[in-house]
């Protein structure tokens, strides 16, 4: 009898383990990142964050015994190359999930194809239009209106300027939208926008606009442009004689190492908006920082953190998709994610209308470091 019981137990263990091996799978995730080209500064950092995120998921996170195999390729900040990669990932590699581009322009160009191929695509692109009318495409960040509410409210309620000048890159839809959202909210709260000049991202000489701004002597200056252009603009405006008390406020691009490096001392005291709060908002954030620094020998920036958060969303969706995850079950699970632990915002996010919703952070530069701004 004892022998029979032992035999049955051994058989049950064998069946259970063989059943586990049937269900455990390698989930393929293809990343089409801007590793070169105009948006390489964003894409490289995002891809690195995803890489660290997937390593952490495979080592520590229960995804029903599944593991993720990551394929990162360079879209060269190019529409055609992004489309080629999407087709390759979906049709040849047969991936379960595609992590789309960081650039809105590229994401908008490939999103219809992801929908057509019925492959879940998550992107850190800014434009909400990328998900509109689609069920296979997800956005790893909130709507611009909700994202920029934090810094617009902070500007009007905490910093309290009376007059502001806003400057934006008119050749990039995302920056125009950022600036419009910020301006609309601060105006509603009584701040007067006294001038709204625009630039092109290829511009490098801002002396004429800088002189125009200095002449207006505003209480605050809001910038919506790339990190390097923001840095250049801040330096040239200060060099043109901007009042040192003028508040300089920007978006997520100014919460980056690129901005700090390029602006040098001129970055001191500037305010920016970030998904991620340096140092980590929770234990997972601290773990991420340590893992990132160990792997790449430098501190992560906001884009790296967003990449890590994208990986977490994928991991959670795989877990929620149950046994034998398919593209369809992962898509469905991703759409229903609620109060998922993350490292951005205040530590949790939910997927609402296929867009991740979380509270943004306002940062400031103190002694050359990004820190959480007081009064939030």
């Amino acid at each position: 009898m004892r022998k029979l019981t032992l035999g049955l137990a051994a058989s049950a263990t064998l069946i259970a383990s063989s059943s586990m091996s049937v269900h455990a799978a390698e989930i393929l995730v293809g990343v089409a990142a801007e590793l070169t080209g105009l948006n390489a500064n964003v894409g490289t950092q995002t891809a690195r964050g995803i890489e660290v995120g997937v390593e952490w998921l495979n080592a520590n996170h229960d995804m029903n015994g599944n593991t993720i195999r990551l394929m990162i390729e360079d879209n060269a900040t190019d529409k055609a190359q992004s489309m080629t990669l999407l087709n390759k990932f979906a049709l040849r590699d047969n991936v379960h999930v595609v992590v789309g581009t960081s650039s809105s322009i590229l994401a908008l160009s490939i999103a219809p194809r992801a929908e057509e191929l019925q492959v879940p695509m998550i992107t850190s692109a800014f434009a909400p239009a990328v998900v509109e009318g689609r069920k296979w495409v997800f956005k790893a960040s909130d709507t611009p209106a909700r994202m920029f509410q934090s810094i617009a409210n902070y500007t009007a309620d905490v910093l309290k300027p009376e007059t502001c000048v806003r400057v934006y890159a008119r050749d990039n839809e995302a920056y125009v939208e950022q600036s419009n959202v910020w301006a609309r909210i601060v105006k509603e709260k009584g701040v007067e926008i006294v001038d709204e000049p625009s630039i092109l991202l290829s511009d490098t000489d801002f002396t004429a606009i800088a002189t125009r701004i200095v002449d207006l002597d505003p209480d605050c200056l809001h910038l919506a442009m790339t990190p390097e252009t923001s840095a250049n603009f801040v330096i040239q405006t200060k060099s043109a004689g901007l009042d040192p008390d003028t508040l300089i406020i920007g978006g997520t691009t100014m919460a980056t190492g690129f901005f700090l490096d390029a602006a040098g001392e001129a970055a001191e005291g500037t305010y920016s908006l970030a998904d991620y709060s340096p140092g980590g908002i929770n234990e997972l954030g601290k773990t991420f920082e340590a893992a990132y620094e160990a792997k790449f020998g430098e501190k992560p920036d906001n884009f790296s953190a967003v990449g890590f958060a994208e990986a977490l969303v994928i991991g959670q969706a795989i877990k929620a998709a149950g046994d034998n995850p398919t593209r369809d079950s992962i898509r469905e699970a991703m759409a229903g994610l609620k109060d998922v632990e993350t490292i951005i915002g205040n530590g949790t996010l939910s997927m609402v209308d296929q867009m991740a919703q979380y509270q943004m952070n306002v940062l400031t530069v103190e002694d050359g470091q990004l820190v959480r701004a007081p009064g939030q």
Binding site: S198, S202, D203, T204, T207, E228, N232, G241, A262
Partner: protein, 296 residues
């Protein structure tokens, strides 16, 4: 503000003039529209930056960048233009070749810089402004204006007061006749391409320093403006390049200062069309450009 903006415009115009001088010299003498000039300018900025990064003083970085881009320009002539010239009427082919060279240089710079925007170290040039007639002037703005004046003077001296200059103008006027008179055209090509590259390299380092930004695509906007200066001033006219460069800088700055910024290009290009309607050959362009005047 008007005086300050006029000064800003003059400095920007000096930059355009400096860029256009080399561009125009090659066109004026050899009728080659070298669209790789913007890329040579960009290479100058990169070489200057790398020289400084290696610990060399700024003056040495300027020198190395200028010599490097001068030699690069000569090499481009050897590799891309000279073989086409031998085939006879090859203006269009040379234009396409220059685009090819431009793309090669830009892509090499893209790889070398990892597509990032680079900058010279902080503090390499004094940034504390001084005040003159109520205007705020940085030392670098002053240097740019002075360098532009110096380059124009030296180039004019070279073309009109030296034996080499006479030979350049002779080749420009009629290459075959110049050969019969004992002028070696290959030496003239070498000289003009070297000077053109040298000026581009100088402009590249100055712009990189002045505007805190060096990247693989930095030559493109200047090439476009250089093209406008070339047309506006008159093809091949050095006086035209200087006057049109300064005029373009001032018009652009004043339009940014006093009109909605999105209108700047509309204003600049409308004025270009208006000038061309009145003077189809540009402000100083006529049948015979400066560089082709036989004797002064």
């Amino acid at each position: 503000m008007l005086a300050q903006q006029l000064f800003n415009g003059l400095v920007l115009g000096a930059v355009y003039a400096l860029f256009a001088l080399g561009f125009n010299l090659v066109f004026g003498v050899h009728k080659i529209m070298n669209l790789a000039h913007g890329a040579i300018f960009m290479v100058g900025a990169f070489v200057g930056l790398y020289s400084v990064t290696l610990g060399l003083p700024l003056w040495a970085a300027f020198l190395i960048a200028m010599v490097f881009t001068g030699l690069l320009s000569v090499m481009i002539d050897f590799v891309a233009f000279r073989p086409l010239r031998k085939t006879g009427d090859a203006e269009f082919a040379m234009l396409i070749a220059s685009i090819g060279v431009e793309m090669i240089l830009v892509n090499l710079a893209l790889r070398a810089s990892d597509a990032r925007t680079l900058r010279f170290p902080f503090g390499i040039v004094p940034v504390e402004p001084f005040f003159l007639f109520g205007m705020r002037i940085t030392p670098l703005q002053f240097v740019i204006a002075a360098v532009a004046v110096l380059c124009v003077t030296l180039l004019a001296f070279y073309l009109y007061r030296t034996s080499f200059g006479r030979q350049v103008r002779a080749v420009s006027s009629n290459e075959r006749a110049a050969m019969l008179l004992g002028v070696e055209p290959r030496m003239i090509y070498l000289q003009t391409f070297f000077i053109s590259g040298l000026l581009a390299g100088l402009a590249g380092v100055l712009i990189g320093l002045a505007f805190n930004s060096i990247n693989f695509s930095m030559g493109e906007p200047y090439l476009l403006r250089g093209f406008v200066v070339l047309i506006l001033g008159g093809l091949g006219s050095l006086r035209g390049a200087v006057v049109a460069g300064l005029a373009l800088g001032i018009i652009q700055t004043l339009s940014v200062a006093y009109f909605p910024t999105g209108l700047t290009d509309i204003i600049v290009y409308s004025l270009l069309f208006a000038v061309l309607l009145v003077r189809p050959n540009g402000l100083f362009g006529d049948a015979v450009s400066d560089a082709r005047v036989a004797r002064r």
